[in-house]
Symmetry: C2
Subunit: 271 residues, 2 copies
């Protein structure tokens, strides 16, 4: 992973990324992290036993658009120094999901009691970062305006498999006018570590989406007559793939309850 | 115009840009310049009396996508040093068009006999440059494969007017799969001085194109069911606008007979 050096705030007060994590750690913030610490990178979390970690890492490297790995931990270590200084992956997300043999068994707010010294954390870039850049350019994110979840679809696009990890790419969809779609392609191209450019535009049937009004995850949203549906590789892909593998034990973030990091979204722009 | 310094070949033999101009000047090459001196920038030509030059220059600067000005001359000067060392704009294109009061009056191969010391030459970037970059990336240019002209359309997109110069933007259309369209947007964004990114994608009716099968210039081309029409601002726009103004005298290149320069297409990539 080529990641630019972390820039740190010089002020004595904790910056908003750290402040968000401290609030979550103290139980003062619960629920979704959307809108928390604007400007700071948030990430999807997957925690796997070391026995699966090498294959999963290779899966991410083979599939950088749906699985842009922005940080990982040493086995048993709850820190991710590339993403934050004062970070405890066991307490710093508002809620987690614990899976055993592919079954969801718990949704705790703290995972210290199930922590094991063979667990490896993977943090994967999330669309919040590029959505911020799109909105800063004046492009409406309709699902955000509506207060709903972005619509997501399982596609006919296969991921490249690594060990037991395989399965279809999941995409998110945002409706845009053609002019905004062109601008959005330019803007998101600058952010390869948070999904990058779209994988598809228009013609949902070409990627195996039978009914755009029936997303597999999230909420349906209108595509108007003067708009094209624009599709980005989605960070739900690794979760969907892990669910297929049914590892004896794994932990993911609870949907919408992401890891807030010390990194700025703007740092992730390649130009 | 911010143009990077010209790189010159160190070899004693003339490079292919100059060789093409010398062949044209000697009458050894006639007809279209397409495919001549691969890798070298070609340009659209407009020559106007000095009385109109300031307004036309402003028109180009207001409308950089259809009218990307890559070089201009001093009044009466047949050289364009920014584009080539050994260049005579009066002899170095295979064919010209001479217009008087908006009427086409001649199509000579040499304009030395009509040259005036108040004439100003404008050279405008051309899609040959970005088409080369697209084909190098493996994207088919169907009109080239077919040996036909790219289809062009007058749109409902207005240009920004300057003095007497005004009128609709003309666009060229290339059909592409969605994945190629996304890649083409990325590639052509790197070439702002040769039309840059597309101005529209899909939905021709939104830019005033009633029938995609009936272009206003060039030849119709099939858009397949798994393709989107992708539209770029076109260098025919300034010619169309000049035709509206009906200047008492002007000269343009003959369609397809462009100016071949000493500049490399790769020099025009901004990154």
């Amino acid at each position: 992973m080529a990641i630019t050096p972390m820039r740190r705030d010089d002020t004595a007060a904790p910056h908003r990324g750290l402040a968000a994590r401290l609030a979550i750690r103290a139980g003062a913030h619960r629920g979704p992290t959307s809108g928390l610490a604007p400007g700071y990178v948030q990430g999807n979390l997957a925690i796997l036993p070391k026995a699966l970690a090498a294959d999963f890492l290779r899966f991410c490297q083979l599939n950088p658009k749906p699985c842009p790995l922005i940080g990982s931990s040493a086995p048993g270590d709850w820190r991710v120094p590339a993403l934050a200084q004062d970070l405890d992956i066991r307490t710093d997300l508002p809620r987690y999901r614990i899976w055993r043999n592919g079954e969801l068994v718990a949704e705790p707010e703290d995972i210290r009691d199930v922590w094991r010294d063979d667990l490896v954390s993977f943090v994967i870039g999330c669309s919040f970062s590029f959505e911020e850049a799109l909105m800063a350019d004046g492009i409406e994110m309709r699902h955000i305006v509506r207060g709903s979840n972005v619509p997501m679809y399982r596609t006919s696009i296969a991921t490249s498999e690594a060990g037991p990890f395989h399965g279809p790419m999941v995409v998110s969809m945002r409706p845009m006018t053609p002019a905004n779609a062109i601008r959005a392609i330019q803007i998101t191209t600058r952010f390869p570590s948070v999904h990058g450019a779209p994988v598809h535009i228009g013609k949902p049937e070409m990627i195996g989406i039978k009914d755009i009004a029936k997303p597999d995850y999230g909420d349906a949203i209108e595509v108007r007559g003067d708009e094209l549906p624009v599709f980005w590789a989605c960070g739900v892909t690794p979760q969907s793939v892990i669910a297929t593998v049914k590892p004896d034990f794994c932990i993911t973030h609870y949907p919408g309850s992401m890891l807030v990091t010390d990194r700025k979204n703007t740092e992730f722009a390649i130009m």
